[in-house]
Assembly symmetry: C2
Homo-oligomer: 478 residues x 2
């Protein structure tokens, strides 16, 4: 008796990411039923066993699990490209813009970033932002998988206007409480929403941006509700300085004393963590997000992901924010991660292609707490997959033996636009480069309008004289 | 009386690269007549002054000079992706393949690499290869600009089979002479061919691969015939070791004594040059090619381009060989160059976007000796230009003021597939992503066939047991 499938993906170079490598199968097939993978195997067997509503021919294509972007700030796509090549990107470049991002502009940024990432094969987006009404709805409507992390901090509502570099931040308990309440309310609305496709993490912004008491409160709520915590950790010398001033401890020791370092924590960046600190954090079971492109551009630093992984920790990749990193594209992050680490260790064997591909798929899934749901193509997992056209000249030729060159080419030569089709939870969101659930030109046009309005407000605001990039503008370099 | 243009490119965000920055003009236009630029200015003026055969509407697009890839080994595209993540890429990964590349396969590789680069906006290709019959003809037919450098070395015709790492290479004067003769004959056929679009450089492979006498002979011929010399210099510790053994000098001192260091020399890599050596080479007027992606992947090293430029030298970018770097894409090289150098100096202000854009255009043109011909959009220069669609989500929004974000986005977010149209010497070679002078699917299919045949020969050759990547193959990592 034939089995039934909604969709049968056939004749693929299948990279299931099962096991400890890339799980390659020649002429492989994936049977999808509902939102899940019903079976994975040789095309011949699945074609014989399944009666399928739809056949997706992946001849000449690689099929992989959808990619996971474990740290995004999608609203900031609305100010893409305004904060590079400066010494203090946040203060001297982004801040004069970000204060003029209206809620409508933030949502336009999220839509733009989601479209961009989806077209580059990202199917799971771990977004960290202020929980505006309409934010989660974008993910619901577009149909990608999301882990949404509402920002929780105790910075004064009026901003940091009076604060001077080197001083302790003012922390405002009331702001912190309000943000925490909003995050909890958001999680009640959206955790496990959209048939489980949308989930929530709690997002204390950084250990220097909430009081110790509020950090503990977040931890206790997270434990009670079974939510992960998504937090920037050791993200800059500014943070370390704040921690030393306030507590006399660097971030890792402080968090360890607070019993914050466990497998419930998704720790982003670790830019300033020493190797022993990174090892400690990994050994405690914490998961790391490595934002290679972003930290490379804004700090010129390669975070200690290699040490973290060697200590047994799981590392996911993240694109961070397009005001700095400029793009949200896991192909970009995979390549930069492999290359930056080869350079850091002056060793071409460090972080080979298959390892970074695992970070973007199965290891990333485990890191963000979705290891049982996504990240590999196996029966029972969610049907999140991408089809990549290998006939693009930069991915040709595709060789099988004695050396298969497809994974190195996907990591070192692909740019993401070779992704032809994208499926999330069994639903095709892109087919032959056409988005099916969102009006791409409208999203881009709306973002352009909102961004121009922001730029107009920035130009009218005296604060714009602080922009470090005014000098290269005047010099004709932009 | 109206002036006549064959093509008027209008309504562009024009980056002329004139002056010391990026030469931006809002709503700019370029008038093309024959193979040259007749005028550059505001769209309104040029539309009023010119009667044009064809109008190319570049609304919503950036228009730039075509990009210059200053160092390629195009035949090796036929074995793309077989030499990454290994300690000794040439010996343990590439060599077992390269010995099985037939002339037909080499030409198929060149065609594939030219198509790939052209689609990513590269209009000038400085190719370094064995001067096979049919090689230059590919450039002639496709219509891109080429600087072709036939390989000259004195390595034994039978290969390096008997040679052991650490020993001096055997140099074979007869092989060297034959290669030099072939290069001179090639230059007589092709220098200034195709209306000047194809030119020739002499290509002594590296200072350790020819005798001192043959190096001097190459230099003398180059001077007499007004040809530049395109040579790998200080490209690896192997070379430095050979130079020390043979001459008791490191490469830069040896070449300086030989009076090889002057503005006739295009020096590739400088991987192993110390900072003082790089400064010396720059001060002598030598031009450098920086292959960031390739050297990053195969050596984990960031060559001393920053020091070289600070010493007044011109630096061009090169993609090197797709067996190692995997792709030939100047957008990739621009981004990697900016990021690698930020990391090298742990300083986000190092190599800002506009600087690497200049390296890919006007500075690159000067470095390869074509500064008067290409590299900027000014009247009288050759009409080599590219039109880039800024409406791609990853390049949106495009902002003008107070900060123009287009150049950072082109460097940090573009991947090359946003290039819509490509013109070389006044002729459109790509329009709306469709190549007009070459059959892309046929080129890809031919390359696939040739590559599979190579792989078959490698598999049948006992030497393939030396492949370092057999181990990750067996482990399911490829």
């Amino acid at each position: 008796m034939p089995r039934y499938a909604d969709c049968l993906v056939v004749h693929a170079h299948l990279f299931t990411m099962e096991g400890t490598g890339v799980g390659y199968r020649a002429d492989g097939a994936v049977a999808v039923r509902g939102d899940a993978i019903a079976d994975v195997g040789p095309t011949s067997r699945l074609q014989a066993e399944f009666e399928a509503e739809e056949i997706l021919d992946a001849r000449g294509c690689a099929v992989l699990p959808g990619l996971i972007d474990a740290h995004m700030h999608t609203p900031l796509a609305i100010v893409r490209g305004v904060a590079q090549d400066v010494a203090h990107w946040m203060q001297q470049a982004l801040a004069p813009y970000s204060r003029h991002i209206t809620p409508a502009a933030a949502l336009a940024g999220t839509r733009l970033n989601v479209v961009e990432a989806l077209k580059a094969g990202t199917t799971t987006m771990v977004d960290y932002a202020r929980p505006l009404p309409g934010w989660a709805e974008i993910y619901d409507q577009v149909g990608v998988r999301a882990r949404l992390s509402p920002t929780i901090n105790a910075l004064p509502a009026g901003g940091m206007a009076g604060w001077k570099l080197g001083d302790l931040y003012p922390l405002d308990e009331g702001s912190g409480e309000a943000a925490l309440d909003a995050a909890v309310a958001f999680s009640e609305d959206w955790h496990e929403a959209a048939d489980g496709r949308i989930t929530v993490m709690l997002g204390p912004q950084a250990p220097d941006m909430l009081s110790r008491e509020q950090l503990l409160k977040v931890k206790s709520i997270a434990q009670r509700q079974g939510l992960m915590i998504h937090m920037h950790v050791a993200q800059g010398d500014r943070e370390i300085d704040q921690m030393l001033q306030r507590y006399g401890q660097r971030t890792p020791a402080f968090l360890d004393d607070l019993r914050y370092l466990d497998d419930q924590l998704l720790a982003v960046h670790l830019t300033e963590a020493t190797d022993p600190e990174a090892e400690l954090i990994a050994r405690r079971g914490v998961r790391m997000v490595l934002c290679s492109g972003s930290i490379g551009i804004i700090d010129g630093i390669v975070p200690p992901a290699q040490v973290f992984r060697r200590a047994g920790g799981w590392v996911a990749l993240g694109s961070d924010q397009p005001s700095g990193n400029n793009c949200s594209n896991l192909f970009n992050e995979m390549k930069l991660t492999a290359l930056f680490n080869k350079i850091k260790f002056r060793d071409p064997t460090v972080m080979p292609a298959w390892e970074v591909l695992r970070m973007a798929t199965i290891e990333g899934a485990r890191a963000v707490g979705l290891g049982d749901t996504i990240g590999s193509l196996v029966a029972g997992k969610q049907a999140d997959l991408i089809v990549i056209d290998l006939v693009a000249p930069q991915l040709s030729p595709a060789l099988q033996t004695p050396i298969r060159n497809i994974v190195p080419n996907l990591v070192y030569a692909a740019s993401g636009h070779e992704v032809r089709d994208v499926m999330v939870a069994g639903r095709l969101l892109m087919r032959h480069r056409q988005l099916l659930t969102v009006d791409e030109p409208a999203v881009v046009a709306d973002a352009q309008r909102e961004a121009e309005a922001i730029a107009g407000r920035v130009a009218a605001d005296p604060v714009h004289s602080q922009l470090a990039l005014l000098e290269p503008m005047a010099a004709g370099q932009l």
